[in-house]
């Protein structure tokens, strides 16, 4: 059975970004920054998912890396740390995805 594509994994990362943003935006002073940051990174994840890499099947190693990174993000319950992870998660996920190239 074929594994997920990079694009499908990046879609999961976008959902994780949304969850982090929801937590981060509870810091009222940072509402705009959090949403601008979410947009900037989900645009980038969408761009990679829609590109040539998005259709490629991920190796089991990359599937595990991205799934664990998303799981790590889900462990964050502090809104300040969520804002840090809003920026960190896509960097980690893209590093894993780009290693396929």
């Amino acid at each position: 059975m074929a594994g997920p594509t990079i694009g499908a994994l990046l879609e999961s990362a976008v959902a994780a970004e949304d969850a982090l943003a929801e937590l981060g935006e509870t810091i009222e002073d940072e509402w705009s920054y959090v949403n601008d940051l979410r947009q900037a990174w989900t645009d980038r994840l969408d761009e990679v998912a829609a590109g040539p890499m998005g259709a490629r099947e991920a190796t089991p190693e990359i599937v595990e890396a991205i799934e664990l990174a998303i799981e790590e993000a889900s462990l964050v319950h502090d809104p300040h740390r969520a804002i840090d992870w809003l920026s960190t998660l896509p960097q980690v996920v893209l590093l894993a995805a780009e290693s396929l190239a």
């Binding site: 890396a65 664990l68 804002i83 840090d84 920026s87 960190t88």
Partner: protein, 220 residues
């Protein structure tokens, strides 16, 4: 324009102890040689919740299968040691690491004696800023001032005003002073933060995670 040590107030004494922590020097030395992937690893682990090294190795397969895997193991260990500190100390240690990393990269192209920490910059007839600059390069006619941040969120109006004020006051005294903000975070995140700032920053150089090694290159 002249440089001066910052006042040794309570904050400075506490922070000096953080800066002197051997963990800070060890992390900065490793990160000064690191690849971008290894720096992202350090950022994730020092920001993270998990302290299981095996788990982090599975999140970064390409980093741990590269030619520099041995260094990546050391970076993971030092990052976990930072993450293991309490939240407040972790935050202070991370900040100190970015400062020390900046100083070490600058030392590849500037005389170590010219690189100073926690310095104020004084100008004739201008009240001194309360907060010192994290790192300065003190060379006559080619001074530089750096503010260092762990994350893009640390970029704020106060920091941008202070850097730009120093630059413009230096110009008034016909002393060219380059100013920069060094951020251990992705350029994309820093640009989002900067775009929302109204404080002057057009002449303030951004050195984000992807560009850290340029600190070791020619003065910009």
């Amino acid at each position: 324009m002249r440089f001066q040590d910052a006042a040794r107030d309570g904050r400075a004494v506490v922070y000096a102890a953080i800066q002197a922590d051997p963990l800070v020097a060890r992390a900065a030395e490793l990160l000064s040689q690191a690849t971008l992937g290894e720096r992202i690893l350090a950022r994730a682990v020092m920001n993270g919740e998990s302290t299981d090294s095996h788990r982090w190795r599975r999140i970064f397969p390409s980093v741990f299968s590269s030619a520099s895997a041995e260094r990546a193991v050391d970076i993971l260990a030092v990052s976990l040691a930072v993450a293991d500190r309490g939240e407040q100390v972790r935050s202070q240690v991370r900040g100190a690491i970015v400062e020390e990393l900046t100083a070490r990269l600058l030392a590849r192209r500037a005389s170590p004696a010219s690189i100073r920490r926690e310095r104020r910059i004084l100008f004739d007839g201008v009240p001194a800023e309360i907060h010192p600059y994290d790192v300065t390069v003190e060379v006559a006619g080619a001074g530089e001032a750096f503010d260092c941040k762990w994350g893009a969120r640390g970029i704020n109006a106060d920091v941008l005003h202070q850097l730009d004020d120093a630059r413009t006051h230096a110009l008034d005294e016909e002393e060219p002073l380059k100013v920069a903000i060094v951020v251990f975070d992705a350029e994309r995140s820093c640009r989002v933060r900067l775009d929302a700032q109204t404080a002057p920053h057009a002449q303030t150089r951004l050195v984000a995670l992807e560009q850290l090694d340029t600190l070791a290159g020619p003065r910009q």
